[in-house]
Symmetry: C2
Subunit: 199 residues, 2 copies
Amino acid sequence: MKLLLVGANGTLGQAVANEMKTDAEIISAGRTNADVEVDITSTDSIQAMFETVGEVDALVCTAGAAHFGPVEDMTPEQNLVAVNSKLLGQINLVLLGLDYIRENGSITLITGILMDDPIVKASSSAMANGGVRAFVKSAAIELPKNIRINNVSPTMVIESEEKYGPLFKGFKPREAKDVGLAFKKSILGAQSGQTYEVY
Amino acid sequence: MKLLLVGANGTLGQAVANEMKTDAEIISAGRTNADVEVDITSTDSIQAMFETVGEVDALVCTAGAAHFGPVEDMTPEQNLVAVNSKLLGQINLVLLGLDYIRENGSITLITGILMDDPIVKASSSAMANGGVRAFVKSAAIELPKNIRINNVSPTMVIESEEKYGPLFKGFKPREAKDVGLAFKKSILGAQSGQTYEVY
């Protein structure tokens, strides 16, 4: 099977690649240093990526940016970072990618614990996560070609603890490998419309 | 108390006004025929509305549009209807409105059952609902001035059954009055970060 992995260079992208490398031919995608370069905030860039890669069996996204800051100080423009990247970047991968995903294929997007277990300064990220989760649940009942769609919602991973630990005080970190396994379950399983929480 | 009601002319806006008319001075807002005109897809229009209205104790929104159509055919541009209206229109009411909401005030936004109980052709609406719900849950833990924020998630109401019944086959419709009561609970209660489901 052919797997297009958007966000391949990130900690979670690498974890997905590790779990899937014996099951799939992986095409890495990302802003730099990937088999195909893509900026998910641009529909033209997404379209060009699919035209370059052609048909795939599995589409995975582990990418998505968001502004972090107090909701009291957040501007509508700052909120657009998450809208254009983690929310619409991922949904546009679906809308523009359906033609390139084969019969019985799958799509797995990324959300995150902040939609369920909020911390301060993360409302914009929570918004994007909640939007993607609800889109996935709804799209799952009507995707063509028997294509499945799920999302994986990780907590902070141990590998990112130095960077994000101060934000996630009291949260139990999980191994990136566990998040990779959740993606594997989505890709190789038979469920659709699910949110796989790795909390 | 002073209540700014965005979407006042709609079925649900009227239901909120009916429930709140003895408890609050209501300032109606909407695209037309309102005390103050506002287009929630425009941050300039939202800003102008708050400058006209001044300080309020409660901000309520029952407005928000979305494109309905099969996810297979939906374009990124069609998806932007819900992004700019039901999702960002409402979130920008919060981001731009916080300065105008008094100490111990409240904000109540609208979501909808489609994020939990999907139907075909409604993925874009589900996305907006899920995004607003997660934003509300997250913003609630850090809003200034002891301001509370909740969302009301209605199913189809009896008053809209002729228009929306064909989409909501098998769904039990509820009275608009029950949705109005849920808004009243949010405005006059003490909870925050809640999703009041009227399913």
